[in-house]
């Protein structure tokens, strides 16, 4: 617990943390409001209250995942900044177990990602509810939990992937480039190239967008959750193993 508390102090005492969070959360909030208004204005008048409730949650979580890249970069910076300054040596002298340091960072970052998702999702949901009031939205149906779970897991996954890449490459620029490649470029290319859907199935982007109802289902929801979860955990484990071999 000492390591977790120390990593939280480290993160909250750097202004760059609040810049990344501020940019991520405010952009996502603005786009959520904009997106929800646009989507809801196009709804057919016959939409039921339950369909409206589901639509609000979907529009809301599309907004939440828009904050993932600043959070991924925050994950990277939380360790690459220490390598760049050399302060990582002080960290490892104080906590010789490198896996403990990495897992403490992961715990703090995951909590921040969940908190950021709620800071976007709760106002976004209330806003969507207000805009869609003429449809009389009910409480979100059971199916909405896959959307909430998928969107939340995506933003946590990207944050932890950023951390893992930072710990593996020990260089912020390289790590952020690889993060962009995995999250943006390769999935985009996969949509256009023949056979791309096979590649996309094992990349984190498609399963997340399937869960938040933005792309057609190509796998069961459980499989989509498993792929996302694997992207959150496996790169981090690789980083832990790579770091345990003291260079």
């Amino acid at each position: 617990m000492n390591a977790v508390a120390a990593e939280w102090i480290k993160l909250r005492t750097l202004r760059s943390t609040w810049w990344a969070l501020g940019v991520g959360v405010l952009t996502a909030l603005a786009l959520t409001a904009l997106g929800a208004s646009t989507v809801i204005s196009r709804w057919a008048p016959g939409r039921t209250g339950e369909q409206a409730a589901m639509g609000i949650v979907v529009a809301d979580y599309v907004g939440v995942v828009l904050a993932q890249l600043p959070l991924g970069m925050l994950g990277t910076m939380s360790i690459s900044g220490e390598y760049a300054s050399g302060m990582i040596n002080t960290t490892f002298v104080a906590t010789p177990s490198r896996s403990r340091v990495l897992l403490a960072k992961a715990a703090v970052l995951a909590a921040i990602a969940v908190a950021a998702s709620l800071v976007i999702a709760i106002p976004g949901y209330l806003y969507g509810h207000a805009v869609a009031s003429r449809f009389g939205p009910t409480l979100p149906p059971a199916g909405a939990w896959a959307v909430v779970g998928g969107g939340t897991l995506m933003i946590v996954m990207t944050t932890l992937l950023g951390l893992a890449l930072g710990a593996i490459f020990r260089n912020g620029v390289v790590a952020v480039c690889v993060l962009m490649l995995l999250m943006v470029l390769v999935p985009f290319a996969g949509l256009m190239l023949p056979g791309g859907e096979v590649v996309n199935r094992i990349l984190p982007g498609y399963p997340a967008l399937q869960l938040i109802e933005q792309l057609p289902d190509i796998m069961p929801d459980a499989a989509a959750f498993a792929v996302l979860g694997a992207w959150a955990v496996v790169p981090l484990l690789i980083a832990v193993l790579a770091n345990e071999r003291v260079s």
Binding site: N2, K10, G81, A94
Partner: protein, 233 residues
């Protein structure tokens, strides 16, 4: 007490540290001398568990550093004072470091006063001179009230007043019975600070002796050091 036993560290084919053995005893200041590339920093990094030896071992109070549960309460280390993130205030830097080892943050104010940063504690470290960063680094080494101190070139960047202050502080820490290992290239300063000397060259031990035995009367530490280094190469 710090012990280095048959320590060897190879990088590729060359040995940065070559079968090095010495003991740093408590209650005095031990100067750790050697030309650039002699292996001083590598030795200190191995003692602190930051690097793994090819063979041999290093222990602190009889155990490897990495097995200590709250290492900052045993050893205070200052490897590179400029290796701090500039965005934090001095006081915040000490706060996270204290937290890693469950050290109460109530110690921070007094330590900042002790190293002469009482006023500067609220400033961001990025605005600090190297001398101020050395002072902050020294405060960090004392957080856990450790019985051993490992300081790599702590005099770099200090002004004359700072050097004199550091000398006095190190002497009082040694007088309290602590183990103090200090590397430096400043021979005149080492001559008036260190009680004991460990001299290495090309990773090998060249001398491990009392200052008064190392330097013959009428010669300076600098002359003696150059002779020892010269005859070894």
């Amino acid at each position: 007490m710090i012990e280095v036993i048959g320590l060897t560290r190879r990088f590729g084919r060359s040995a940065a540290v070559d079968d090095l053995s010495f003991t740093v005893a408590p209650g005095k200041i031990t100067g750790f001398l050697g030309p650039n590339g002699a292996g001083k920093t590598t030795t200190m990094r191995i003692i602190l568990g930051l690097d793994r030896p090819t063979s041999g071992r290093a222990t602190v109070n009889g155990v490897p550093y990495r097995t200590l549960a709250r290492p900052l309460t045993h050893v205070g280390a200052l490897l590179d004072a400029s290796a701090v993130q500039g965005g934090r205030r001095a006081e915040q830097h000490l706060r996270w470091l204290a937290r890693t080892n469950g050290i109460p943050s109530t110690r921070i104010g007094g330590l900042l006063e002790l190293v002469g940063l009482g006023e500067a504690g609220r400033q961001r470290v990025g605005a600090f001179s190297l001398g101020m960063k050395q002072r902050l680094g020294l405060a960090a080494t004392l957080l856990g009230d450790p019985e051993a101190l490992l300081l790599d070139e702590p005099l770099n960047g200090l002004d004359p007043e700072g050097i004199r202050w550091m000398r006095g502080l190190l002497k009082s820490l040694a007088a309290e019975g602590r183990t103090v290992l200090v590397s430096s290239h400043l021979m005149h300063e080492m001559a008036v600070t260190a009680d004991h000397l460990i001299v290495i060259g090309r990773g090998r031990l060249l001398a491990d002796t009392e200052m008064t035995r190392f330097v013959r009367p009428g010669r300076s530490l600098e002359d003696t050091f150059m002779d020892v280094i010269g005859s070894a190469s």
